[in-house]
């Protein structure tokens, strides 16, 4: 059997993917040989190789997001803007979106799926209004509610009224057929206050999950799947009937806080790879895995760039070489930082041999 380097005592065969576990004899030897061959050598600059392997194909992606006209679909950020968004680890993606899978009881039944979908979609008061009036004599806001809409959403006038009073203090609500009379109870109130109240009321959350603005029910391979625009993973997972294993969001920070850093790391890999593949370019997953690891190993999602990975390099010179030179040099002077010259850029600057590839080998003259 070929000699395989590895962690001490580790059985390399176990490390192989499942489908290769039954290999025997020559085939196994060949597989192990290949495994050995494909491994990086000591001192190879895997970071630079990863960066080049991602950025070269990325140059081929057109900047323009593509969408087909007239199709029923949710338009999400694609292509280079999305890729930049992922590696920049933005707090909130430009178009957060979810893919909500349902468990067996709901997945095949369209009616039940619709029921869940209606629970998820956020309804604001402004979506239900037919008309809004200000009665300046009485200092009352009159909200005329669309009856068809509320019956479609299984809402009653009382529920709407409760939704308002729950979060708005100092208001009194009277219901008359399909009109809500909202009267502020505080004593001194002028027209300006009434106007701001009216604007605030419009944005009141009535039903559904906050943040999910659009919904699309699709049948994928005989199962009903809900695609959304807007994301709120924590709340969606609480809903009965949602398949908690497969439900998916593209908001990396949300995944990190709800499911943990490992999940976030996997999401970075998956999203980046899929973004690239959808634009017709490809790269090896392992490059993306390395980048995702660099972004996540500290326990929180860090961006590639000034405020993230590149900004937290240990070498002063390396940081000063990248961006904000003056900031890093003054800070280093102020703190009395030391540069051990252990990495690449700083050695290029002073003109030393970089500790990479052939430069990792050192020979000392014993004499």
């Amino acid at each position: 059997m070929a000699k395989v380097r590895g962690e001490k005592g580790a059985n390399i065969k176990e490390l192989l993917p499942k489908k290769y576990q039954d290999l025997k004899g020559k085939e196994l030897e060949k597989a192990l040989e290949r495994y050995e061959k494909m491994r990086y050598d000591y001192g190879e600059a895997i970071g630079v190789v990863a960066a080049q392997s991602i950025s070269e194909p990325a140059t081929q992606i057109t900047l323009r997001a593509y969408h087909a006209a007239g199709r029923v679909q949710l338009v999400t950020t694609q292509g280079l803007p999305r890729l930049i968004e992922i590696f920049d680890a933005r707090r909130e993606p430009k178009t957060p979106s979810m893919k909500i899978y349902l468990d067996e009881r709901y997945a095949t039944d369209e009616e039940k799926a619709k029921e869940i979908a209606s629970k998820i979609k956020e309804t604001k008061l402004k979506d239900l209004l037919l008309e809004e009036r200000l009665d300046l004599g009485e200092m009352v806001i009159e909200l005329v509610i669309d009856k068809d809409k509320i019956s479609l959403l299984n809402l009653t006038m009382e529920q709407i009224s409760n939704a308002i009073t729950k979060t708005t203090h100092n208001v009194e609500i009277k219901i008359e057929d399909n009109i809500l009379f909202v009267r502020p109870t505080s004593k001194s109130i002028d027209i300006k206050d009434l106007q701001t109240l009216r604007v605030r009321l419009r944005e009141k959350h009535v039903k559904g999950i906050k943040g999910i603005t659009q919904i699309l029910l699709e049948n994928v391979n005989g199962e009903w799947v809900i695609s959304t625009l807007g994301s709120n993973l924590r709340k969606v997972l609480e809903i009965n009937g949602v398949d908690k294993r497969r439900t998916y969001t593209n908001n990396i920070h949300e995944v990190a806080s709800v499911l943990g850093i490992e999940a976030a790391r996997n999401l970075i890999v998956k999203e980046a790879l899929e973004t690239m593949r959808s634009q017709g370019v490809d790269t090896d997953v392992r490059h993306l895995m390395l980048v995702a690891d660099m972004m996540c190993f500290s326990g929180e999602v860090k961006a590639i760039g000034r405020y993230g990975v590149a900004g937290s390099k240990s070498s002063v010179l390396a940081r000063a070489n990248f961006e904000e030179t003056i900031k890093h040099l003054t800070r280093a002077a102020y703190r009395g930082e030391e540069d051990k010259l252990t990495s690449i850029v700083e050695n290029v600057i002073i003109g030393n041999v970089v500790p990479v590839g052939t430069g990792t080998v050192k020979v000392k003259y014993k004499g």
Partner: protein, 600 residues
Amino acid sequence: MGMVFFNGIPLGKASNLEQMRKELIDKRRKGKFPKSMSISYLEDRDELHITLDNGRILRPLIVVKDGKPLLTEKHKQKLIEGTITWQELIDEGIIELLDADEEDNAYVAISEEELTEEHTHLELDPAMILGIEASLLPFPEMNRGDRLNYGSRMVVQASGIYLKNYLIRDDTAAQLLVYPELPMVYTQTEEYTGLNKHPSGQNLVIALISYEGYNIEDALIINKASIERGLGRSYFLRTYVAEARRYWGGQEDIIGFPEEGVYGIRPEKAYTKLSEEGIINVEEYADTDDVLVSRISPIRFIGIQEEIRMGISNKKDNSITVRKGEEGIVEKVILTENDNGDKIIKTTVREYKIPEIGDKFATRHGQKGVIGMIVPEEDMPFTESGITPDIILNPHAIPSRMTVGQLMEILAGKIGALVGERIDATAFKGKEEEIREMLINLGFKEGPREVMYDGKTGRKFKVRIFIGIGYYLRLYHLVSHKMHARARGKVTLLTKQPTEGRSREGGLRFGEMEKDCLIAHGAALTLKERFSSDRYEFYICNECGLICYENKRKGRVECPLCKGSDVEKTEMSYAFKLLLDELMSMMIYPKIKVTRKVVI
């Protein structure tokens, strides 16, 4: 109710602006308003804009009423007879001048056939939709749009006779084609731009074949005999300006020979071509680095008295010399003075540029290429009638770029040469059928392709070759102005790194991304070598971490701070030393700790 604006300033509100626009235009046509006044209605904003300010480009169109152009056959007849002028047509309101704003309200028909009731204007000629550069291209309607773009961009770069008064001009750099020809296949625009008086290209016999692979990647193969007969030869003129300035304090630049020992004096040979005044003679040959105007300038601003008192020479040689890599014959010398009364000497050097490998040529269809090989005439392929092509173009240049116009031009050029008349190829003339007929009448039943023979072996080619006449432009990008290489050479004073740019014999930058590539390959020592252009040896004090100097008197290396000599010798880039120096100038004390050197 919409707003009415005059020159962008609101005048007031009015209703029924569309109606108002029509009435105003009617009045303008009758001559009650200036003809250059633009009246436009913005429908989406319900605004009427009346403009009369400067800087608007106006464009003539024929006015159409009820689907009939106002310019009738009568007018056309009168125009030919010369009894009516253009200005009269405008005055009568038959031809109208529209600016970009008013054009948005117009519905313009391109040709008379497509006129309907709704049309408001008619184009003077379909080719008028193109700009000047684009309308200089032959058969533009047969090419893909981007090729026209490239083509018109390169027409501008062609060397020809750029202006007819070039002999009395003193442009910094100019290029003149020696034997410009009128194109065999022309457009009518030529006449109006004056390009038919001073054209900028030559009609060459083009064959579409490969030739030993020396025309791959758009290279061109040129017949040596053609070059010897004058193909593509041009003159390159460069004017050098020398100013003899007067400085504050009574000092001035002197035009004249420097004495022995003046700072920066050149070898004696460089001054031999000058006349007694220190200025080169007309029609004298000047080589690279030869002095054109010998000028002596003061170095520092010390007065004449101080100069005598202190006994230092305050002179430096500041002569104007021929640029590196250039040479030529002095075309003219102009002596004049500027506003301050300072003497100005302008010398123009003329260099004869014969096409060589690497010079750039292009057709008017965006088909550009550089010369890949110059072949003796006897080795060139020839036709039955003994014609050898001037240029061999690779057939691969055609299919992917779809420049059908190029093929049409070669074909039309061939016909023109055989019939003896120039062919009009203005846009949208629909000449295809006519050309086909002429071709058949000339006996080319199967197209313009001809039987050809290999010039080296004399064997007949198995296929017939597309051969004809096309117009080629010599573009001003010449190899002799661009070729550059260096192994070692000048460095800049500040950083000790190689200089930048061809004119300074500069190095080629091995940049950030190139660095990454070497790292990705793990080629650490190659990388070190690449970046060792400013390698420098330093002594560093083990105590203070500062760079030390050699004290020659004491014969030892000394630390500037502790004066000790416990130092370590290291090597690093000079640029890094400079960085440390600059940090020190900003009161930051960078300390270098040297560990024992590891031998690699």
